[in-house]
């Protein structure tokens, strides 16, 4: 069974009510459109429910819009639905029926679920069920996904249409005989007659409907999939011929449909005195001054919740995984396998789960913004600003979320309609200065700059990253992701109270998809990084550490041995790291990063930071033999950085190196989780790879300019 309808009809709420915990989220083949599926228990047995993305019509221009027609007609490997339930907004019946009649005219068994009946009643709108039933020849059930009204009747209506073992033939015959009391002008009918035999359809009525679909959808510049070239050529010829004779096909088809819909009043409405609640709210929310205040307040709460409120949960998750690692280490014999388990696997899973608080929070808030109708207002308010960047008004929330963390922000791009807008936003969001860059900035600034300059440098880094993100949006939007800009045509739906169960279900579906899909990539990367940083194991130590330990024991009177032993341990770790694959890699890339002012030790830190940017701090601690359990506030690491010298005695870390390093961190894709999230959302390794390459090149070039330019200027 398929669930179809316009956007903002409460279709998702109905899906939630029918399927509950059984819902799963997947993808339609070949496109980045989500496919939600679940099981509905009907009296006659369970049935699979597919939620088709909300649309105003089956006609399509892109392969993404084509998903609806594919899923309803069961084309291109999509399972063919036995029944289509059309979710119609009872307060917007005519426009909703425009979509519904395209399903009915194909002879596909359908049920109309008139949703939002509670709202319609409050507005004194009374749909005439008998008239609708007789004009469309389809069962009509008034429901309310919010209150649960009409669910049993809906189940009965769908059950009656589902073929049982013996009755399937009768069903099909009945449906085919359904009245289709509308007609198209002769020129359209002639075109249908010519095209119908060319399309691949199970029944004559469906061939007719598909011919109509092709007439409306196929265009010289469309991006549709799997339209046979013969059909395409014929459609274009027929359209051109009609045009020459003075008839526009689109006009003719759409106007005759609306003529049928408008011919007989389908609802009785008692006009309401005064302004509606939505209008009264919008008087404030869309007000030039108060509207902006409300907007900034809402975005402030959203940002604050991502940036700060999720912190305790993140801390708790880190503590639990740290504790689990210690526990495993204590219980298992020391060795490579234990290290793999603790540092690779437990650490890897931990670094995935640690994103959950932000993802859950963001999707919870997004769900509320979306379901209440406020998200459309956000897009309305900031569209002018975003248009200048070549982006859609809806891209604002993902961009803002990027300051907290790119991973949930990239997942939030799914609120954008077109693939081009989604990709552009995904390519730009990782340039926003996320919270993981903060420890690196803090360490570098505190170690190398006087306190009077620290505040301004920090602000400068945020301004710099925002500017670069906007610049990148401008450049990518005009070059690689040029494409057709989607015109903004966005419904401003009436305000509605969000339904908690729906918001929670949607939030959980997203989070689970992240855990399973991006999670595996992140865990695998963690294991690889662990391997690089800890192998090979059989290196020749640079010093005889056991002798040093013995020495420490011998001098037990003069120094407290515990401290001295920890020091020796750290030195031994540093020695191992320097000889590890990561250490060798650091040396190998030194010629590449030397022009940026970085030595090979920073190179090792950069490799370690790929796990997550803040790991740079602890990796540097390891490299310098201070130990890995340090933070950016650690004075010993700061002193170490400030006092580190090249072999010739000049300092490794000058203020210029510091700026160069921060610029590198601001621009580089030093975060495997971001890359994994882009790969999951774009369904393509190519875009994930492009993101990594372009950001790395950008970072390298910018640091080069900063460092070499700075040297020329005498810093």
């Amino acid at each position: 069974m398929a669930l179809a309808g316009n956007p903002n009809t409460g279709k998702t709420s109905l899906f939630n009510r029918l399927t509950g915990a059984s819902a799963r989220v997947g993808n339609y083949a070949g496109v980045t459109v989500e496919r939600e599926e679940g099981e509905w228990r009907l009296p006659g047995g369970p049935v699979q429910v597919v939620d088709i993305p909300g649309t105003y019509s089956l006609a399509a221009r892109s392969s993404e819009e084509q998903v609806a027609v594919r899923a309803i007609f069961g084309l291109d490997g999509e399972p063919r639905p036995l029944v289509v339930v059309l979710v119609l907004d009872a307060t917007q019946l005519v426009r909703n029926l425009y979509l519904a009649m395209q399903v009915v005219e194909a002879g596909i068994p359908a049920v109309f679920a008139l949703n939002l009946m509670d709202v319609a009643r409050a507005q004194q709108i009374t749909p005439d069920l008998e008239v609708i039933r007789s004009r469309f020849g389809v069962p009509v059930v008034p429901v309310s996904a919010r209150t649960g009204e009409g669910m049993r009747e809906l189940a009965a209506a769908v059950d009656a249409l589902l073929p049982d073992a013996a009755g399937s033939a009768i069903q099909a015959a009945q449906q085919a005989a359904a009245p289709s009391g509308w007609h198209y002008p002769a020129v359209v009918e002639a075109a249908i007659a010519e095209l119908a035999p060319m399309v691949n359809a199970a029944r004559p009525q469906e061939a007719r409907a598909l011919a109509l679909w092709a007439l409306l959808s196929v265009d010289a510049g469309d991006e549709l999939m799997d339209v046979p070239p013969a059909v395409r050529a014929r459609v274009l010829a027929l359209r051109a011929a009609a045009q020459a004779a003075g008839t526009d096909m689109d006009d003719a088809i759409i106007r005759s449909r609306y003529a049928f819909l408008d011919a007989v009043p389908l609802v009785r409405t008692i006009p309401q005195a005064g302004k509606s609640l939505t209008d009264r709210i919008d008087a404030w929310v869309l007000h030039p001054l108060f509207g902006m205040v409300i907007f900034l307040g809402t975005m402030g709460v959203l940002f604050q919740s991502l940036f700060a409120w999720s912190d305790p949960a993140i801390g708790a998750i880190e503590a639990v995984f740290g504790w689990g690692g210690d526990l495993a280490r204590g219980a298992l014999p020391a060795g490579v396998l234990t290290d793999l388990l603790v540092e690779g696997l437990i650490g890897g899973v931990g670094s995935v789960v640690v994103f959950l608080p932000q993802i859950l929070l963001l999707f919870f808030l997004l769900g509320i913004l979306e379901d209440s109708g406020y998200m459309s207002r956000v897009a309305f308010l900031v569209d002018r600003l975003m248009k200048a960047l070549g982006l859609h008004g809806r891209a604002f929330v993902p961009m803002l979320s990027g300051y907290a963390c790119a991973v949930p922000a990239i997942m939030a791009t799914r609120t954008l309609e077109s693939r081009r807008d989604r990709l552009l936003t995904m390519m730009v969001v990782p340039l926003m200065s996320c919270s993981a860059r903060l420890p690196v900035y803090t360490l570098v600034i505190a170690a190398l700059f006087p306190s009077s300059m620290r505040g301004i440098l920090m602000v400068g880094m945020y301004v710099f990253s925002t500017g670069m993100a906007l610049l990148a949006a401008g450049v990518l939007g005009r070059t690689l992701l040029k494409g057709r800009r989607m015109p903004l045509l966005l419904e401003l739906p009436p305000y509605r109270l969000p339904r908690l169960a729906t918001v929670l279900q949607q939030m959980w579906l997203r989070a689970r998809a992240f855990l399973t899909e991006a999670g595996t990539v992140i865990t695998a990367c963690t294991v690889v990084l662990w391997f690089l940083l800890s192998f090979p194991r059989d290196t020749v130590p640079g010093q005889d550490f056991d002798a040093l330990r013995q020495q420490a024991w011998d001098q037990v009177d003069s120094v407290i041995p515990d401290e001295r032993l920890a020091e020796i341990d750290a030195l031994e770790q540093a020695d191992r790291l320097q000889q590890s694959y990561a250490g060798r890699l650091g040396r190998a890339i030194e010629p590449v990063i030397a022009p940026l002012g970085f030595d090979w030790k920073i190179g090792v830190g950069l490799i370690g930071a790929f796990a997550a940017r803040e790991v740079f701090v602890s990796t540097m601690g390891l490299v310098y033999g201070i130990g890995g359990d340090i933070t950016e506030d650690s004075p010993s690491l700061r002193e170490k950085l400030a006092s580190e010298r090249h072999p010739d005695g000049s300092p490794v870390y000058t203020p210029l190196t510091g700026v160069s390093l921060m610029v590198f961190f601001a621009l580089s894709a030093q975060c495997m989780s971001t890359v994994a999230a882009v790969r999951r959302e774009s369904r393509s390794w190519a875009w994930a790879g492009f993101l990594f390459v372009y950001m790395t090149v950008l970072a390298w070039s910018a640091s080069l300019i900063v460092y070499q330019g700075g040297r020329v200027l005498g810093y």
Binding site: Y56, D222, D250, I254, R255, F380, L488, E491
Partner: protein, 79 residues
């Protein structure tokens, strides 16, 4: 010169005469019920002057000025 939707003063009711513009956007407008003879009204404007908040058939849409230019209005009803 016929009046187009982007030039319609706020809150003044008008009637659609025809829809122009690029085909796929035009088709979308038609499919949403932006048909000749249907009343239309601008009920709001975003803070920076764009986009417009357009009411049609009891439903509201946000539309950019550049695109509202495609909606041609009947002179008689606009007056």
């Amino acid at each position: 010169m016929s009046l187009t939707l982007d030039l319609l003063p706020l809150s003044r009711p008008a009637t659609i005469h025809s829809i122009g513009g690029e085909r796929s956007f035009r088709r979308r407008l038609l499919e949403l019920g932006f048909l000749p003879g249907v009343p239309v009204k601008i009920v709001g404007v975003a803070p920076m002057g764009d986009p417009l908040d357009v009411e049609i058939r009891g439903c509201r849409f946000s539309m950019r000025r550049a695109e509202a230019q495609a909606v041609v209005l009947s002179e008689a009803a606009a007056a």
